[in-house]
Amino acid sequence: MTAMQRVNDFVVRFANVNGSGSASANRLFAQSILRMGVPATPRNMFPSNIQGLPTWYEVRVSEAGHCGSRGGTDLMVAMNSQTFEKDVEGIEPGGYLLYDDTKPARGLRHDITVLGVPLTDLCNREYSDPRQRQLFKNIVYVGALSALLDIEPAVIEQLIAEQFRAKEKLIPANVKAMHLGRDWTLQNLPCPIGLRIRRSDRVGDRIFIEGNAAAGLGAVYGGATVCAWYPITPSTSLAEGFSRYVKRYRAEPETGRTRAAIVQAEDELAAIGMVIGAGWNGARAFTTTSGPGISLMQEFLGLAYFAEIPSVIFDVQRAGPSTGMPTRTQQCDVMACAYASHGDTKHVLLFPQDPHECFTFGAQAFDLADRLQTPVFVMLDLDIGMNDRLCAPFAWDDSRRMDRGKVMSAEDLDAARDFGRYRDSDGDGITHRTYPGTHPTKGAFFTRGTSRDEYARYTEDGAIYQHNMERLLRKFETAKQMVPCPIRRDAPEGARYGAIYYGSTAPAMDEAVEILDEDGIALDTLRIRAFPFHDDVLRFVAEHDRVFVVEQNRDAQLRTLLVNEGEIDPARLLRVLHYDGTPITARLIVAAIAQAISDAKIVPLRKPAPKVAS
């Protein structure tokens, strides 16, 4: 057997028991690699459970900076006896297994390096309290890993000190536990192993944060003052992030009172109802939810579209339909959001690729909602929402001003000849509104989900109804120029094939393009960042023979949207799909695209290329 030899480029997977306190130790491990200047991307694969079921934490170390999931395991830290056999099976040939050999395991593979550390024994000798034995065991294995992978102990000590800044008493105990594992390993096992961390400078000024927290921060910077939400995985930490940043940044100095209202609603219907009530009344308001919540909100979303009320919805997508896989990732709400509610509707969607864009789009969504007077969806997913990710630092331009859109003040109303709430005086489909209570005699109107004329008066006149529906389309056209534009990246020599992707698929796609290029397959790519689609999207499709649409759902939802909105010949858009609930990998994209291109070469030219699914 040849043991794997890799520096700064491997995957470590931790198999733990949910609720055993492993999460913070695993995060500590990932951070220690980042502090050594080596990019590392963790992903938490957790069950819909609080305590007892298996959970995994994958850390992809990649000096080249690949943040996508890679698949496979080079070093397994097997801490869960329930899944031990399967975990060992999953190790790549030549890889490594670290396990607690207090109770020796039998029948281990011979094509891997087995590293036994008596973690339970070490902890039982050192600690008498059962909870301490459990918690410190996690830190002990981080210490063992530092010896095996050559991670500088000082880096870990520093991180422990930062983590327990508020509870200083805990610092020496944790440092001691780390050294307990490290010292035993140094004395008893050959260190370091073939997988190694070598100090580098590839992290730069990047920050490490989860997308949900970043989006919550974006809402603070975007001026949101009302958050109404109902707890649902994987969106809960977005509302919690907003609460945390509100506490930090929105306390009124003189009184300590809060410049925001956060209400945990009784359900998602009430949550979106509160958002719409607040948006109608001139506050920037949002809710945060996931697929089942989007389903519940449909009627209200139609009201907000038709009555034209600014509202922001963060949808942290998870695997559907129905309850689906609540703790697994997918991009499966694209259609449900784009055309949410009965009747003819279309909604603005934003697709952030990482926490940096979760922040940026999280703030921008409020400007768009106010400007366009309509619901705006920020489409995260579990993969970017709930995992810490290395990304460009947040940036804010202090000269930037909130765009509150076309709102008339009392002075404006006095100066205006006439006020018609739904009268398109500028030709862009966007009309003027007033906040309730603005003027004693002018500018009041009745908001309703029923059809009405330009002065907001109830009508069932078909011509007036249709005129208004056409205007809403015009407004959607206006939106195209306001939403984030797509990002195109062409192969140096240009390419016959293109690939369209969005959201959390980005890092896997970036890596796939590199691999395909090495294999001699050139690919132009376009990352879509918003719906309605910018004209550049249609241009991109027109300029390529075939375009792969890479996404994480079964039904190729973005492709459907492209076909529908762009009137594109479906044969020209090839599906590359991944939807088993795990994040998409470069390996999968490469395999699907390479296969499709090689198949296409033997197919007569007149026939459309076959559709590709995975």
Binding site: A228, G256, T258, A261, I276, A285, P440
Partner: protein
């Protein structure tokens, strides 16, 4: 409904309120409800209450759901913004609106279908959160716009216009409101303006969730023999526990009552409630005994009306959340956005 437009001319001698406005300034569009509908009487009572309280009409936000009752906000306070939202969801929209601007007066108008059937959950949560609003249910025990189906407040055994008996138990919104923590609860009858107008005035001046269940007979579908929400039935079974006079600060209190039979209580904003006791054993400050009293009398087939409960020290949702005094929709950019310096500091902590 009438098709005749209202004349725009005002009588020169129309009385004015402290703002110099006449009652005509508090009117809305012409009602499209059936002639004789109880809801129109409630609209008139609301109009009178707001006028007499000297509230500028544009400082009221009119919130409603879907149904006959929910249409009525168009028919009063024409210079106020209104929001006719979706069926059963007025409470959440009103809650959000209230969060955005705590300085306006929120008047929710709903029906028994809207609040007791499809919207029972939202009704309950608005009450328990203490949203500072007046929540009026125009309760006729029937679905009017869809032509005569029973609603959830129809009494068990009551018969429909077609003679079918209702087999389901009735939901008592007053009982629910009390149990859920509403801090002002009243019941009245659309046909009794002397009772209703002061109740609405007191509710509008109450800080917290103020609920009024107003029986409002449906002349089309629920005003027949066998109905327990008809004009005749309600008149016969109405048992008022007290008579309320609402006194704003500028009026003089005249002592024209027997000692012990009248209680005068001050609300937070300085207004006074003068309560003349009709039922000697009824105490509107005791939530628990109020619930017992209501159930006992309801079992006898009586409809207990009046100011049923008031908590003068009530808090509202903003108090619970600790929000600033400035309306959230009026906060400035500087107060909302922490800026680039704070962000740089935060970035540094995330490395």
């Amino acid at each position: 409904m009438t098709f005749l437009p209202k004349p725009t001319l005002h009588h020169p001698d129309l009385p004015t309120n402290a703002l110099g406005l006449t009652r005509r300034d508090y009117e809305g569009a012409v009602s499209t409800l059936c002639a004789g509908c109880g809801h129109d009487s409630i609209s008139a009572a609301i109009l009178r209450a707001v006028f007499e309280l000297d509230i500028p009409p544009h400082r009221v936000a009119k919130m409603s759901g879907i149904g006959c009752s929910s249409k009525t906000p168009t028919y009063f306070l024409g210079t106020a913004h209104g929001f006719n939202s979706v069926h059963g969801r007025m409470p959440s929209v009103a809650t959000g609106a209230n969060l955005a601007n705590r300085d306006l007066i929120y008047l929710g108008v709903s029906g028994d279908g809207d609040s007791a059937s499809i919207g029972l959950g939202q009704f309950a949560h608005a009450m328990r959160r203490g949203v500072n609003m007046t929540y009026i249910v125009e309760n006729n025990g029937v679905y009017g716009l869809t032509k005569g189906q029973f609603s959830a407040t129809s009494d068990k055994g009551a018969t429909s216009k077609k003679g079918v008996a209702n087999a389901d138990s009735a939901i008592d919104l007053v009982g629910l409101a009390l149990q859920l923590g509403a801090t002002f609860v009243g019941r009245s009858f659309s046909g009794d303006k002397t009772q209703l107008v002061p109740l609405i005035k007191a509710a509008l001046r109450h800080k917290g969730a103020a609920f009024i269940d107003c029986i409002s007979p449906c002349v089309q579908f629920n005003n027949h023999v066998g109905s327990t929400k008809s004009f005749d039935y309600v008149r016969e079974h109405n048992e008022a526990v007290n008579m309320l006079d609402f006194i704003s600060g500028r009026e003089e209190i005249v002592t024209d009552y027997e000692p012990g039979s009248v209680e005068i209580v001050a609300q937070h904003d300085g207004t006074l409630l003068k309560l003349r006791k009709l039922a000697a054993d009824y105490d509107p400050h005791d939530r628990v005994s109020a619930l017992g009293y209501l159930q006992t009398h309801s079992a006898r087939g009586e409809i207990v009306t009046g100011l049923l409960y008031v908590d003068l020290d009530a808090e509202d949702l903003h108090d619970h959340l600790g929000t600033v005094a400035t309306p959230l929709n009026a906060l400035t950019e500087a107060e909302l956005c922490p800026g680039s310096a704070a962000l740089a500091k935060l970035n540094a902590s995330l490395r």
